[in-house]
């Protein structure tokens, strides 16, 4: 340890965030009485430049070799104060934070109790820091390859940004083509430019980019390693079509006798059992859907094989598992749309002409199943259409959050309906939320196009008429909260603006990449405001709707931010790794190898010669599970040693 500990204690007021509840003067005075404390000071914002200067100067002038900062959570400013220590010439690990804001002043009402608790936390930190040891920060090279999971607009945008800097990107997409939800959309608000027109050029760029290896129809199976050095196993599912031979002529699709509902058309149209999801697909190579293909079900047909002129059909193809090494991983797995069937009263799947917003996108799309004609199930043109907002969003029974895009696309629908038909349009909204650039203006514009706005949540959509006028119509029943009365409105078509929700496999994805999810089920960012693209696992970034509902501009912005983060790591070229790793005292080790069974990273090996276990520090992540499992107390965890923790426990009882 070297010289005797000389501890400096710094109490932050955080404006009134701490000082409003905790008596900071009393706390500072209390700190002065603790063992080995040379100096204790309080300051209004310890994290500010002058605050940092106070600490730095004390380290230099008073020869401090330990620092305790009583302030906000260590997740906020531990790194800031470590840097202060380092710049002032002491090892950054000789610092301890007492979290007297998030875990004291903000959660305690009584001032005396808060002050007492803060004293206990501070005393614990002082006792702990006494035993801190300087640790060496180790650096390892950062692999410049990147894995991006998800080929929607977020994944595409990020892949291009990174690849354009001439760094390799592996883009993994679960479906047969990239494009994501955006390629299914018709026009995009508020500019009304065609979604496919702005996206397909980017898709083809991805498909032909020399620095992008596109793996469509593939899934990530296993992830190991750590920031800078991940190893990822990817399963390339068998397409039963030889990608090298296929020339994308489309003859196989044409001849395939089996028709099934198309996922791309949201069930509004059909596809074949061998198919590319849509004509502009990237890659333009069909896949055989083994769930429906007659050959896979009944053992005969193989018509596609017969007609294929380049012999690309290969029924013997098998899944292939490839392993890639990457430095960073970006998740852009997107969202899925809420299925409104459980909301029985809205009649989805029960009543004809009640459709979801995604189904309407396909209906109104000129490349869609009706070539863009808005028609009812019987082929006639609707005379009146109701658009129901917040279906599954802002609803405590389903999703509490706002899906953020529905108000805007509902306005877009009104415009498209008005453009293509003479139908009356009724918007049933709770609140109009038009928050983005040009959005309010778009709202104003559509309001002027003769659209009816009814403020109220729809209670029921029914076909039970009670008057002549309602016969054969869908009747939308709602309370108009501005009029304060119930209204029944007969319409021909009802569009349900369904919520964006986490992908059904989000839990498995979070587990696979070792990251957390927030209460709404989306992936959890490191900090909701200051670090929305990072996660709690270093080197794993998130972008787009897998983090929460957002519109296209926000998705693209987040993807670019995540790409910039990756490029920053690549350009630095190396990465600091955990210094707080386990160490084994070979003299105490009995060689029972229990620790190596506990270790999830295979970081502990057995040295036959010394008959003792040994930790590979590059693999150890510092969880400490082996430490508390060691029968001989031969293992300790740096920075979380038994000595430090026991001293901290002791300190809290002051």
């Amino acid at each position: 340890m070297g010289s005797e500990p000389r501890i400096g204690v710094y109490v932050c007021h955080c404006g009134s965030n701490i000082a409003g509840t905790v008596d900071v003067k009393e706390l500072t005075e209390f700190a002065r009485g603790l063992g080995s404390v040379i100096v204790a000071r309080d300051y209004v914002f310890m994290c500010s430049d002058p605050g940092q200067e106070i600490i730095g100067n004390d380290i230099r002038d008073l020869g401090l070799n330990r620092v305790v900062v009583a302030a906000c959570s260590p997740t906020m400013h531990e790194l800031t104060f470590r840097r202060v220590c380092q710049e002032a010439g002491i090892n950054p690990y000789l610092l301890e934070i007492a979290n007297i804001r998030e875990q004291c002043s903000w959660v305690t009402e009584d001032k005396q109790m808060a002050t007492d608790k803060a004293k206990a936390m501070l005393s614990a930190a002082v006792k702990r820091v006494y035993y801190h040891q300087p640790l060496e920060i180790r650096k390892v090279p950062f692999n410049a390859n990147t894995l991006i999971v998800g080929g929607g607009i977020a994944g595409i945008g990020a892949a291009l940004e990174i690849a354009n800097s001439e760094h390799k990107v592996y883009l993994v997409e679960q479906g047969p083509s990239i494009g994501g939800h955006m390629i299914q959309l018709d026009k995009t608000f508020p500019t009304l430019d065609c979604s496919a027109c702005i996206l397909t050029p980017k898709m083809t760029q991805v498909g032909s980019h020399p620095y992008i290896e596109l793996m469509s129809y593939s899934e990530v199976e296993e992830v190991s390693g750590y920031i800078g050095n991940f190893k990822v196993k990817i399963r390339k599912r068998a397409r039963y079509v030889n990608a090298d031979r296929c020339n994308g002529c489309g003859l196989c699709q044409e001849k395939c006798p089996l028709k099934v509902d198309s996922e791309f058309e949201a069930g509004m149209g059909k596809r074949k059992a061998i198919y590319v999801p849509f004509p502009q697909a990237v890659p333009n190579i069909p896949v055989i859907d083994t769930e429906h293909c007659t050959y896979f079900l009944k053992g005969k047909c193989r018509l596609c094989e017969e007609v294929c002129e380049v012999n690309a059909i290969d029924f013997e193809q098998e899944d292939e598992v490839v392993e890639v090494d990457v430095g960073a991983i970006m998740l852009a797995t997107g969202f899925s749309v809420f299925d409104p069937t459980p909301i029985y009263q809205y009649g989805y799947k029960r009543l004809d002409n009640v459709i979801t917003s995604l189904e309407f996108e396909r209906l109104v799309n000129s490349s869609g199943p009706t070539t863009g004609n808005i028609v009812l199930k019987d082929g006639s043109t609707p005379q009146s259409i109701a658009i129901v907002h917040c279906v599954g969003s802002r609803d405590k029974n389903y999703h509490e959050y706002c899906s953020r895009v529905c108000c805007m696309y509902a306005l877009k629908y009104a415009h498209l309906i008005k453009e293509k038909t003479d139908a009356e349009v009724y918007q049933y909204y709770i609140d109009m939320r038009c928050f983005g650039k040009g959005y309010e203006e778009f709202y104003e514009r559509i309001s002027g196009e003769g659209v009816n706005f009814i403020r109220g949540k729809v209670g029921e959509v029914t076909d039970r008429d009670i008057s002549e006028e309602e016969k054969g119509k869908l009747i939308v029943v709602a309370e108009d909260t501005l009029l304060g009365s119930m209204i029944r409105l007969p319409v021909d078509m009802v569009i349900l603006c369904v919520a964006m929700e986490p992908q059904p496999d989000m839990e498995a994805v979070a587990r696979l990449f070792n990251i957390s999810r927030s209460a709404d089920g989306f992936l959890l960012e490191k900090h909701p405001k200051l670090d929305p693209v990072a996660t709690t696992t270093d080197g794993v970034l998130i972008a787009g709707c897998c983090q929460g509902p957002k519109d296209i501009p926000d998705t693209v912005a987040q993807a670019s931010a995540a790409a910039a983060r990756v490029l920053a790591m690549i350009s630095k070229g190396e990465v600091e790794i955990e210094a707080a790793v386990a160490t084994i005292n070979e003299n105490l080790c009995s060689g029972c190898k229990i620790c190596s069974l506990i270790c999830p990273y295979s970081a502990i090996s057995f040295d036959e010669e010394k008959e003792a276990c040994r930790v590979n520090e590059a693999l150890c992540k510092g969880c400490g599970a082996c430490v508390s499992g060691c029968m001989s107390h031969a293992i300790d965890l740096r920075h979380f040693t038994n000595e430090q923790i026991l001293a901290q426990i002791d300190g809290t009882l002051t």
Partner: protein
Amino acid sequence: MEQVTLSANMNKEDSTWEPKLLGFLCRWCSYAGADLAGTSRKKYPANIRVIRVPCSGRVDPLFILKALRLGFDGVLVSGCHPGDCHYQSGNYFARRRMAITKKFLEYMGINPKRVQVSWVSASEGAKFAEIVTEITQELKEIGPNRVFNDERQGNGTEATE
């Protein structure tokens, strides 16, 4: 010196007695959850003292015994939900170790309810506040931990409860 005062207070057993709770929180889930309770200004009893550990798997049963011996009335061990461990399997080890520790405490004549294990994710700030409130209330019902009381006062004899 401080500890003697504490024990003396406990002996009074008056209405002002407040249980002392020690919490071991893993830094990835539960500590972040506790931070979130603060960010969302959820109020909970000030009886808890938190020790940040990298993983609930780091919590040595020795720490629990040490805490009870020093005069804590209860200990909370909290980590990521099973299956969500940042280190893949640390919380499973914690779960088994704590189950055995509780058995051992019972054998020693200590109410095993003094040691509680719960899983709190980084998004469960409200749950953390609820758990601390509940455990504090429960400890008030169980009463002060006096098992090592005499030993702390230097009498050398031990009581059970």
